[in-house]
């Protein structure tokens, strides 16, 4: 891995496979032990810097850091100096003075992780930057799909819903394609960004295309990002045309959703409660994958820097 994980574009397919293999081998079964902790990052400091409300992602990162035995500090925007007008640059310079090993950042603006990486020596992990990207979500989704389907080459996935406002869609289009999957986007025109077809996905405006795919990836209707603009005639009409239920699925089709779900908006309640969705597997995968990312971002960097380490490997690996 590189020093930072800012975008899914930072990773080659081989690196993605390698990180996910680490997650599978080292971290997936950890939750089944009584002692759900390994000493791997003992003494390391991880700062989770969250400028947006988040429950699942921040919980997942916090738990991942703690299960690696790191000291994890959570900084929430509403409780920090941000409210006092401090700039992001100054916040990060201040945090950097504590010499953290990793800064995990969730921010409402595109590029904030790359921005703070200029002001800290810590490894920076993007936990969602505005509508930009969400690389760890992408990795955990691929992990979940691999567990369900094995090889992903040629697998067909439809991403359905509010693609315009979705960082998850942006990362997943890139990540899924890198894994050899075929991606179709399904949304009304107003919820698709202009020019999205150049990202390498097909575009459809109806759920009819679900007949031709293996996996359905649902996105939350992000009403809070719509602001004052009216993008669909009414939510009722949107639901009638784009809400996915069991009746839309054929045998063997699985449904993923990054959460949190809006029951009755993009996903029918019955589907949300059925075994056809992998939503909770995604959450479980999220923990293992984020542990793997934090572990690898530290040890890979140490290995690259430390020639003595490389020599030690000669001694033990052969």
């Amino acid at each position: 891995m590189n020093k930072d994980l800012l975008s899914i574009d930072d990773l080659s397919r081989e690196e993605m496979e390698s990180i996910l293999a680490t997650a599978r081998k080292d971290f997936l079964d950890l939750s089944r032990r009584d002692i759900k902790k390994v000493p791997t990052l003992r003494g390391r400091t991880i700062i989770d810097l969250f400028y947006e409300k988040s429950t699942r992602t921040s919980t997942s990162f916090e738990l991942a850091g703690k299960r690696l035995s790191a000291d994890v500090i959570n900084v929430k925007a509403d409780s920090s100096a941000v409210g006092k007008g401090e700039s992001l640059k100054d916040t990060v310079l201040t945090l950097n003075a504590y010499a953290p090993d990793i800064i995990v950042i969730r921010h409402p603006h595109v590029g904030a992780p790359a921005f703070i990486a200029r002001y800290t020596d810590a490894h920076v992990i993007n936990a969602g930057d505005g509508k930009g990207g969400h690389p760890t979500q992408c990795l955990l989704d691929i992990f979940s799909l691999q567990r369900e389907y094995g090889e992903l080459q040629g697998l067909k996935v439809a991403i359905v819903g509010d693609i315009l406002h979705s960082r998850v869609a942006r990362s997943n289009i890139a990540g899924f394609r890198k894994m050899g999957m075929e991606v179709t986007l399904v949304a009304p025109p107003a919820l698709l960004p202009r020019g999205v077809e150049t990202l390498g996905a097909r575009v459809s405006h109806t759920l009819d295309v679900l007949d031709d795919v293996d996996v359905v990836y649902l996105l939350r209707m992000q009403k809070e990002r719509h602001g004052s603009t009216i993008l669909v005639p009414s939510l009722r009409e949107y639901i009638a045309r784009y809400c996915v239920g069991r009746r839309h699925l054929k045998r063997g089709q699985k449904v993923l959703h990054p959460g949190p779900i809006n029951r009755g908006v993009e996903i029918e309640a019955e589907l949300a409660d059925s075994g056809e969705n992998l939503i909770l597997q995604q959450v479980e995968a999220g923990l293992a994958v984020r542990m793997a990312i934090m572990y690898r971002i530290i040890v890979d960097a140490a290995a690259l820097q430390d020639t003595a380490g490389a020599r030690a490997v000669q001694a033990v690996a052969d």
């Binding site: 032990r33 791997t40 290995a303 820097q305 380490g309």
Partner: protein, 182 residues
């Protein structure tokens, strides 16, 4: 050490374990990945044969417990993790109250064994942990000694012991090599 000698040594260690273990029903073998796991499997087969009962055997991956971060990274970088045969810890039995024999190919500084003991304790509380190694090459950096030794091979720091096993390397042998400075 040629192939037949490796085989005889393993048989001998199996006998010693059998002799020195009073409560066979609590015995379990845990091999440290990668080559220790194959040795543990072979020892378990021999002991099972001699004693007429199956001995539980597990595998321990100590990479998360190592004390040298850089070496861990190099290992993950080097060991092609995309390949499906890469294995992690697998202990198909309850570790609590077991007499666990840790098995490794070479005992050197003792740091690997320290990590293995730590890892094992995260899975439960064994009644006793003992150590079986095919080769002890000396140069200990921790107060750790083996309970069962195949062969003591005094070495210098700049030599390397290569243990090859037929399961992974196609041949059983132990070779002493001088390390070239790169």
């Amino acid at each position: 050490m040629p192939a037949d000698q490796v085989g005889r040594t393993i048989v001998r260690i199996a006998h010693e374990i059998l002799e020195k273990t009073e409560e066979l029903d609590r015995l379990a073998l845990v091999g440290i990945l990668t080559r220790g796991a194959y040795l543990a499997r072979r020892l378990a087969d021999h002991i099972g044969e001699f004693a007429g009962r199956e001995v539980p055997v597990g595998e321990l991956d100590i990479s998360l417990y190592r004390d040298d971060v850089a070496a861990r990274g190099s290992l993950t970088v080097r060991s092609k993790l995309t390949q499906p045969e890469v294995r992690g810890t697998n202990l198909p039995f309850d570790v609590d109250e077991k007499i666990v024999i840790l098995v490794d190919d070479v005992l050197f500084t003792g740091r690997t064994i320290r990590a293995a003991i730590d890892a094992l304790f995260d899975y439960g509380r064994p009644a006793r942990i003992q150590l079986a190694v095919l080769v002890d090459r000396g140069h200990r950096e921790l107060p750790i000694r083996p309970d069962f030794v195949g062969k003591n091979l005094p070495t210098s720091q700049d030599e390397r012991i290569n243990v090859r096993l037929r399961e992974v390397d196609g041949v059983d042998e132990v070779v002493l090599e001088a390390v070239r400075d790169e």
